[in-house]
């Protein structure tokens, strides 16, 4: 690997670490600064002051804040994420399978979102100003205006209550059923595909206006070749990175969708934790989701640098051009 690449990776890695550190500090400060609050949340509202005091002392909460933070950080890094007060289980073992389940949901959704969004966007961008373009734009505006829980309601009303074609909940209680994934994936798709279509359309329309596309046309290329051979590879750079940056949005949407359809994933876990002020579980879930977001940001930067020939990690060194 060339020198420039490894330096760039090092910088990105350091940035990631620093961000994670700041995030961990923020999370800990927000949730565990006030020790009395923590005691109330862990022991419940009906605990007495004495019980709380005893518990605080037992669990090292009488120490100063910064010391507590460092201790907590150390334990966190080594995988000791505490015990959930609601589920009464070790948090780490609780999260793992749920994360996998959400991964399945998000992954399936992406498999639908990406092709649909890209295709709509490319067609709309090439035929800028046409009916297709207007339709795609309107579709995108409408779907990105309907919050996920609302589209879940609409789809459920239509496909479950009225037509009865699909199940209303997706608990996967008796094994895996594809049917139970249809509605959750559809809700996620509606929101994200529209957004990606808009981004792709804008990128495509911009590329079609460039001088080099005019050159391609004036060389004698028929329109289809112009699109496929010249336009796409430049127009798709932005959407690809945008898709990677959609994953944080997807995470938020996944939470809502899982809660709505009672899908036993990471989202419902966080939801239960929030409702029951399960501090340690919330902390762990938050940290995990932040890791996911930061990782996708770095991956997105990598993708962009790899795809964009001007910043290409492939081309080694600048050529000192003369005239």
């Amino acid at each position: 690997m060339s020198d420039g690449v490894s330096r760039w990776l090092l910088r990105k890695g350091a940035g990631m670490l620093l961000t994670m550190l700041a995030v961990s500090f923020l999370v800990f400060a927000v949730l565990e600064f006030n020790v009395d609050d923590v005691a109330v949340k862990v022991l419940g509202q009906f605990s007495t002051a004495d019980q709380r005091q005893a518990w605080l002392q037992e669990n090292g909460y009488t120490a100063p804040f910064l010391l507590r933070y460092v201790r907590w950080l150390g334990e966190f890094i080594t995988g000791h994420w505490g015990t959930s007060t609601y589920y009464r289980e070790d948090v780490l073992t609780l999260i793992a399978p749920r994360l996998a389940a959400s991964g399945l949901l998000a992954g399936t959704a992406l498999l639908v979102i990406v092709p649909v969004g890209l295709l709509m966007g490319v067609i709309a961008g090439v035929k800028e100003g046409s009916i297709v373009d207007r339709l795609v734009s309107v579709f995108a505006i409408v779907t990105t205006s309907i919050p996920e829980f609302a589209s879940a309601v609409f789809l459920t009303a239509f496909f479950v209550f009225w037509l009865g074609w699909l199940p209303g909940v997706s608990t996967m209680a008796d094994g895996f059923h594809l049917r139970e994934l249809v509605l959750p994936v559809s809700v996620l798709t509606l929101y994200s595909a529209g957004y990606i279509a808009r981004m792709t359309r804008a990128s495509m329309a911009e590329v079609m206006q460039t001088p080099y596309i005019r050159t391609a046309r004036l060389k004698g290329n028929p329109l289809l070749r112009v699109i496929v051979r010249h336009a796409l590879r430049n127009a798709l750079i932005t959407p690809v990175t945008v898709i990677m940056l959609q994953i944080p949005w997807l995470l938020s949407g996944v939470i809502v969708v899982e809660v709505f359809f009672a899908y036993q994933g990471f989202g419902t876990l966080l939801y239960q934790a929030a409702l029951n002020t399960d501090i340690y579980l919330i902390e762990a879930c938050t940290m995990v989701s932040v890791v996911a977001v930061v990782a996708t940001q770095v991956a997105s930067d990598l993708m962009y640098a790899w795809l964009n020939p001007r910043m290409s990690l492939r081309t080694a060194g600048r050529i000192e051009g003369g005239k």
Binding site: T215, K219, G220, I319, K323
Partner: protein, 534 residues
């Protein structure tokens, strides 16, 4: 040569009554108004006009690919006798790049940034010829070699952003010539290039005409370039051709008043006989720059520049892009802080001033900028902009407003314009507002940073006149930053030539132009197109 069905007696390209309509809401109905012209084999026909004259719309129509919104509404275009205007898109695809080819104004932007340039040349063969891949590659390499590009293999594998502007333009010319087209349309091909590169590309185009016998339609707004390459000239205005004829005749004895106006607007390379400084009573140095330097890491943008500027005189700093002349201007007004050196304004050290002192003294050196569109706040009315400048110089509100009116008169703008926003003015008028804004502070030195580059030839001439007039009336010292030797020749008392951050030659205008000392100065002068005729 494979010109097939074209015999020598016929023109290879015949345009008759071609009309292109603009969409509703444009400032006139027709982009191209019943234009007729002929192009013969082996000749260069230059189409000259200012921006908005319709010359680019014409080329788009000839290629059957008018710009979005434009429609061809009438007339005929015949290539070797064959009618082109009614062709289907499929038929057009066989002709474009094959029998009519085009080269463009922005070479780097006209190449696909994601594909190595060699493959882009090969694509022409893929579209129009039956060859094996290896043969295409060979041909492409041969073409690159014939463009006098060094290290053809490396150029073949490069992406456009790894090449210079001149190299990209040669690649585009190679692409255009790949199939030996009858007609080559060159749309402002050298406008975006440095003057030395421009000279090389023009030379290349002339050689092509002689060796291969292509007919070349050369679009430009620059009469110097026209004088350099044209066999015949057609002058366009508002979509019509107002004059057409042999190059020599049109340049020396123009018939149409517009042509005369355009040619008169081109500054001559001969400086007017001994310009005297305006202020007779002893030269007072208003600006003294000593050893000024700015480096970014190991790159020296400005390298030990020293000169002095006297009251009532004009010093032009000439050089190509990247030589550091604009950086120099920005250093003097402290938009960027120098790494070393001294700037003395009216005898006092300027670089060490801070805060209130700086605000009080900055009025002495004012700047007018290159881009008329970006140099004025689009939301502020012209009068308010100038009044604000006057208030910053110490006037109260009422005086400032009166001053704005006075300055408008001085720069030759109608007083109604005071209440209008920049969008209501033309490029040349916007520059006048910029000058008025600078004058509102009663400066001693006016720095013009490429202030004429974005203007048409006629606007340029007017602004040059205005600057001379202001110098006479107010005794201003002017530092003119420009890449155009003609402008420098006309307005300067002294000229400084910059290369790679250094001043390589400095002296009285006549001396630098007529007997240049430094080889680079000589190169610049030789590259200036149209030396002989204009």
């Amino acid at each position: 040569m494979m010109f097939g069905n074209c015999d020598d007696s016929e023109p290879i390209l015949a345009v008759e009554g071609l009309t292109v309509a603009l969409p509703k809401g444009a400032d006139r109905a027709l982009a191209v108004d019943a234009v007729s012209l002929e192009l013969r084999r082996g000749e260069i026909l230059c189409i000259v006009g200012e921006s908005g004259s319709g010359k680019s719309a014409l080329t788009g129509a000839i290629m059957g690919a008018p710009a979005p919104g434009l429609r061809v509404t009438g007339g005929s275009v015949r290539l070797c006798g064959k009618e082109l205007t009614k062709l289907s898109e499929r038929a057009w695809c066989r002709i474009r790049g094959n029998r009519i080819a085009m080269i463009f104004q922005e070479p780097m932007a006209s190449l696909n940034p994601s594909i190595p340039v060699g493959q882009q040349i090969m694509e022409v063969f893929e579209l129009h010829a039956r060859m094996r891949v290896s043969e295409r590659r060979e041909r492409a390499l041969t073409l690159i070699r014939s463009m006098q590009l060094p290290d053809p293999e490396r150029i073949f594998a490069s992406f456009p952003h790894q090449l210079s502007g001149g190299q990209c333009q040669r690649v585009i010319i190679a692409m255009a010539l790949a199939m030996n087209p009858e007609v080559l349309i060159a749309d402002e091909p050298t406008t975006a290039l440095d003057v030395t590169t421009q000279a090389q590309v023009l030379k290349l185009i002339r050689e092509l005409r002689e060796a291969q016998g292509h007919g070349i339609l050369f679009i430009t707004h620059d009469f110097g370039v026209v004088a350099e390459v044209a066999d015949r000239i057609a002058v366009m205005r508002y979509g019509k051709i107002v004059e057409m004829g042999e190059a020599r005749r049109v340049l020396t004895q123009p018939v149409h008043p517009y042509t005369r106006e355009l040619i008169a607007a081109v500054p001559s390379l001969t400086p007017p006989s001994s310009k005297e400084p305006v202020d007779g009573d002893g030269a007072k140095t208003v600006l003294a720059v000593t050893g000024l330097a700015k480096s970014y890491g190991r790159v020296h943008a400005v390298n030990e520049v020293t000169f002095a500027l006297e009251r009532g005189t004009t010093l032009s700093v000439v050089g190509e892009s990247g030589c550091g002349k604009s950086s120099l201007a920005r250093l003097i007004v402290r938009l960027t802080e120098p790494t070393s050196g001294r700037v003395d304004v009216n005898g006092k050290c300027f670089l060490t001033l801070q805060g209130r002192e700086l605000r009080a003294s900055c009025r002495a050196v004012q700047m007018i900028f290159q881009d008329p569109f970006g140099s004025l706040n689009p939301l502020r009315r012209a009068g308010a902009t100038i009044a604000r400048a006057a208030m910053l110089a110490g006037a109260d509100r009422r005086t400032a407003r009166a001053r704005a009116g006075e300055l408008f008169d001085r720069v030759g703008l109608p007083r109604e314009g005071l209440d209008r926003r920049p969008s209501a003015f033309s490029g040349g008028q916007k520059q006048r507002i910029g000058i008025a804004r600078a004058l509102a502070m009663n400066p001693d030195v006016l720095i013009a940073d490429e202030s004429l580059s974005a203007l048409d030839a006629s606007s340029q001439a007017q602004i040059l006149q205005l600057l001379c007039k202001l110098q006479n009336e107010l005794g201003l010292a002017i530092l003119m930053i420009t890449h155009d030797l003609r402008v420098a020749a006309q307005i300067s008392h002294r000229i400084a030539v910059m290369q790679a951050g250094r001043i390589v030659e400095i002296g009285p205008a006549e001396q630098v132009i007529n007997s240049p000392q430094h080889p680079y100065t000589r190169e610049l002068l030789e590259s200036a197109p149209g030396r002989g005729l204009v």
